[in-house]
Symmetry: C2
Subunit: 514 residues, 2 copies
Amino acid sequence: MKNKVGREIPEEFLQNGVEVFQGQYYRDNYEYTKAAPTVRAYVKPDRNKLQNSLRETILALNLKDGMTLSFHHHFRNGDYICAQVMEIIHELGIKNLFICASSLGKAQANLVPMLEDGTITGISTSGVRDEIGRAISEGKLAQPAWIRSHGGRVRAIETGEIKIDVAFIGAASCDVYGNASGKGGKSECGVLSYADVDAKYADQVVVITDNVVPGVNMPASIKGIDVDYVVKVDQVGDPAKIAGGAIRMTKDPRELKMAAYCAKVVAATQWFKDGFSFQTGAGGASLAVTQFLRSYMDEANIKMGWGMGGITEPMVDMLHQGYIRALLDDQAFDIPAVKSVHSDPTHYEISCSEYANPLNKGAYVNYLDYVILGALEIDTNFNVNVVQGSDGLIQGAPGGHPDTAAGAKCTIIVAPLLRSRLATVRRELTSVTTPGESVDVLVTDYGIAVNPRRQDILQQLQKTDLPLCSIEELVETAEKICGRPEPIKFTDKVVALVEYRDGTLIDVIRQVKK
Amino acid sequence: MKNKVGREIPEEFLQNGVEVFQGQYYRDNYEYTKAAPTVRAYVKPDRNKLQNSLRETILALNLKDGMTLSFHHHFRNGDYICAQVMEIIHELGIKNLFICASSLGKAQANLVPMLEDGTITGISTSGVRDEIGRAISEGKLAQPAWIRSHGGRVRAIETGEIKIDVAFIGAASCDVYGNASGKGGKSECGVLSYADVDAKYADQVVVITDNVVPGVNMPASIKGIDVDYVVKVDQVGDPAKIAGGAIRMTKDPRELKMAAYCAKVVAATQWFKDGFSFQTGAGGASLAVTQFLRSYMDEANIKMGWGMGGITEPMVDMLHQGYIRALLDDQAFDIPAVKSVHSDPTHYEISCSEYANPLNKGAYVNYLDYVILGALEIDTNFNVNVVQGSDGLIQGAPGGHPDTAAGAKCTIIVAPLLRSRLATVRRELTSVTTPGESVDVLVTDYGIAVNPRRQDILQQLQKTDLPLCSIEELVETAEKICGRPEPIKFTDKVVALVEYRDGTLIDVIRQVKK
């Protein structure tokens, strides 16, 4: 069955209420009863949650074949939690597990043999990168992986589409009551935003930390009342890889040019006024937008009301310099962000449901004025792919891309027209992540195209000296330079389902033919 | 059917899974699936939650006969929210409503005619005082009122025993996204701990404030993602009655004597060591304990790890003087507490579920070392009544009494032996609120009795010069002075059910015979 962005979704995946994508606001006003965990009550006082070892804890959980286990990715490439837990479970010989991760990457390379031997047969994740991305692309997972946006993952858990049996939550610190935080100790990750929904909806919740603190560990991102067990390990992660040092600002002239265009698009549109809200990504051009934005803000004599997202040093600097009144942080990308969220009283941790869940009563993405996002590919209908490489391998992550694009009043994609002789702007996407109806402006190094649906924005930009063009002109330029791309050959086997944030299917990804 | 404290519970109330009280830890390890609200999703961005008037908001809610509405009591005797909302609903002619309040008192006197005309036919509350207490005592409510502890209310909502259709949450401040707080504006109440469960479990949530703030209202006690409507009214309450000025420390020699005894009991028992946890009430003797505790703490060179509860100035002073490392606050009793929770980074707001819910994974009450509580009456089995006057009228509130008593390692009741020629220590209670098995020490002005179940505590106190005696001796002394009390005459009509925190019935209250 073809969906609203023209992608064919095989009928076999349209079961148990799963529908094809039907528009970004298809589920507005959708009514549902939230899922809820099964709780074992601790009426007796002074129960000791603190376990002696991770192995003992895992034995106490009474794991069974077919269960769903969850992990978060706040320790990023430095995460030791998922690897440690799964090695023990692997040894125990439990099979047919479903892993509900907020993201998977290099740190989870050890899962690949577990895909091959049937320990893990299902996965839900945002990022599917590196070894695990390659394994899924190659069809090593028994069932197709669910690729979900950050908001979509929360939605799937809150609606009950995913039922988590056990959440394993790595934390930089925890007290004996189970109050856990991204602050303190040798493995600070800043926030625990993605794990919030896991703690609230999983039947059993384990906090794993290398830093058990005395007294009450407040303020806590994860509340002790939701936690069954606390266990101390030697190390939750590799600090050097958890939060990288400060990200260096790009000096690439092409990226700087695009960043300058983006800032001008923002400054020339109607939502650029005191109190505006803004999110930008951590890519070179996206990040560089902030430095150009400052002068426009000075000129207009306005402040940003709030900045949101994965937070990086440039946003932290703007907060501390008074350009931004508040930062809403669902992921700390670097050490300055980690330090700031623990010390600046106007830098707030928010849960991922607050950030991006499409089916609550109004996530912050709904109130974004501007978001600046990247793209691996974008087609002439402004549909964007951020998941699959043009070689067919899964190598990206929707992250908050579809969520912020749907919510923001002005969604700007910034991407170079070409990347090492591959066109970014194309007639056909390898797969669709974010529908074009939620994308408003495309900024490239060859010109700026406005989605024809947004005549309001077009009119405002026509008053500037920005190099406006149509997206057809961009695709023609790209084709002139690198020709039309050879279609990649796929087998019939579907290896991943690309879910839109509301639970509908926006695309499927097939195994690359070797 | 007789329950474990010997009270007769009529069979008609033992339906739909309601059982008689069977011991304080009867439901330990009880497994249940939490309730969850029905949510109407706000997928479309930028929905305006801000309403024009309270009346319009109430009309938008589509209220129906028989619904359950909830209110919190953080504005205490100054609350205008419940009165304003219910006046409008009364005018609309909606009937047969169930009011799930965290407490009711003087500020809700206008509900009395609504009990009489069938607008309100059921009530769940902790406190039932003043006019509304009298009306219920006189049998004016169609169904018996449910008297619940603070922890019991959260439990009843989280298990689904109470399903809230609409929560009306008064707040000192709120932003347009629905993020609400007890801070800011002319009506500060400090915290919104009791409303936390309402926001999370009600189908529709309305925040009512007199202070809509620009930007993001963070940190927020109530999250915008749980809020449907925000409405501004002229005044949420009478600031003079919301948080009283500083409470004056008692100079009553009898109260001071009992306070000194309590402090010595604390200092002489094994849990008095660095990092101990402690809660005390706002009554004269309870409050005065803090001033005697200081010198014992100096002597032992120890600090309190955390203090909890309804927080008052003496506890705030101890925090600021370094005697306490952290305060956990579920209710701000006076202006110093309100100011401190908004300014001291070691004074934390906790939800009422974190405070006292018996059926989560371990509320803070479970980790209390000491709690000092009052009593209207206590019997020779150490059962306590804090709800019903010895004249038969409902005039108190369980509050956190049964919750903290069950959780604390050492539960101390402080009460004068006699109050204006009525004995506090008696052979028979007017009704039971807290079972004697959870009460360890009774401190009176005539001596100190230790529950025979606690030989460990008795042995420790025997090493002091405290005037120990048996509770039988105390009751005999009381009877010598004021004789045996005349039994009060009641009709057969049950006007209130006294629920133990775990959902079982510990007693029923009947209508007083005139």
